[in-house]
Symmetry: C2
Amino acid sequence: MSVELVQERNSDQRRGGTVDFVVQHLVDGILHGRFAPGQRLVARDLTEEMGVSRGSVREAFRLMAADGLVDLVPNKGVTVRRLSRHQTRDLFEIREVLEGLAAKLAAQRINVNDNRAMFESMWRTVRPRGHHLAWDIFIEHNRLFHRTIVSVGGNLLLKDAIDKLQLPIMMVQVGRMMADENIQQSENDHATIADAILDGDPGRAAEAMQNHLRELADWVLALPDSAFKREEN
Amino acid sequence: MSVELVQERNSDQRRGGTVDFVVQHLVDGILHGRFAPGQRLVARDLTEEMGVSRGSVREAFRLMAADGLVDLVPNKGVTVRRLSRHQTRDLFEIREVLEGLAAKLAAQRINVNDNRAMFESMWRTVRPRGHHLAWDIFIEHNRLFHRTIVSVGGNLLLKDAIDKLQLPIMMVQVGRMMADENIQQSENDHATIADAILDGDPGRAAEAMQNHLRELADWVLALPDSAFKREEN
DNA sequence: CGAATATGATTGTAGGACAATTTTGACAGA
DNA sequence: TCTGTCAAAATTGTCCTACAATCATATTCG
């Protein structure tokens, strides 16, 4: 039924990108559910699967562990990270201030260069239109929305910092449970945030963003224990 | 004149910590000025210097690159990171909200468990005493102060996030220019922050911390171009 | 059935090999 | 003296092999 889809590395690719290739393969696999949270990643299997050396795989593991995408336990190996309820709460607290900052900066800088054009272009494609939105499309819209805000904000390090917040993991872990009402709510929030940014009102933008994330956090944290990794304390 | 101080790896150390050993050696070297910002790190030199394999060194490079401590350019190698003025500003913006959050959380949780005891103990050792403080002692106090606040705040991921903010780099790059007046000012700020936290006033704590960092940022950003990496745009 | 043990799998680390690429240093010409 | 060119040397990226330490699993024994 299913074709053995072996992703061998395109060998005409330039030297120097092997590790990145491995990382992307793994991230992709996580996002598409091919590697489930908690699953162990065996180095040698991956070397065969992708036709790269074990050294490159290990480097990719280190990188991803530093970014919090996997857990690396000495002598035991690497597993796709799963967040506990506590960690999820901590993560949202951080996300709230970082994305709040991003929204504030975006509102401050909406009128420099072609920021307004960029933002409006994004907003035209993700603006709520009332009709039902499939989960994976919403996820895509959501990502684009948040990334554009960070981008307009103009703080490059902030982009990295937010990227390193293991959001993909959380979304995979938790996102499939999102119901239509949540999507609806999020889209409304987005509209409020977009308004504030387009108005160039930093305070209102930051607050709207923080409210948005706090709501989302409340909903996520109300999920049953089964959605989270067991607390290990 | 100078003794050839070769830090060979203590071989009775348990298996599984080689990479961490390399990282620590490098971070130490950076902090102590043995590796200057901008300096290139040659893999093979390090393998000989520390008696570890090249693979381990490469893994350490990846880790540090992910943490922003070094720049890793394909085919060219690894250099100790140097921040541009722009990056420094971006960094302070992020630090302001993250440490502001830490201070807020600390004030909220100062009365749970033995947090108050821990905080007061820290504060007894770093509290300003009026007499002149050497730069490196101040740096140590400063680190302890900020880390304790994060710790009392109780958000473990926040600790990681702040650690990954390349503060060591910035301090090395910029810190040696700190004059007594800056140290004085910082110590005053610390007292204000500590008061707010001990009073359990989250809003005041966060604001005091943010003010502290904003002042520091203003001072750092007023330094001459020579303190920063050339802007590459 | 539970505990001890043997067996196999996987990791951590060292080290060699070799082509791709960059850096260095020498050299000729302006 | 400066500058561009080119070969030599150094360094990187990647793969490979090897082997002990450690973990996971199956098996045997009580």
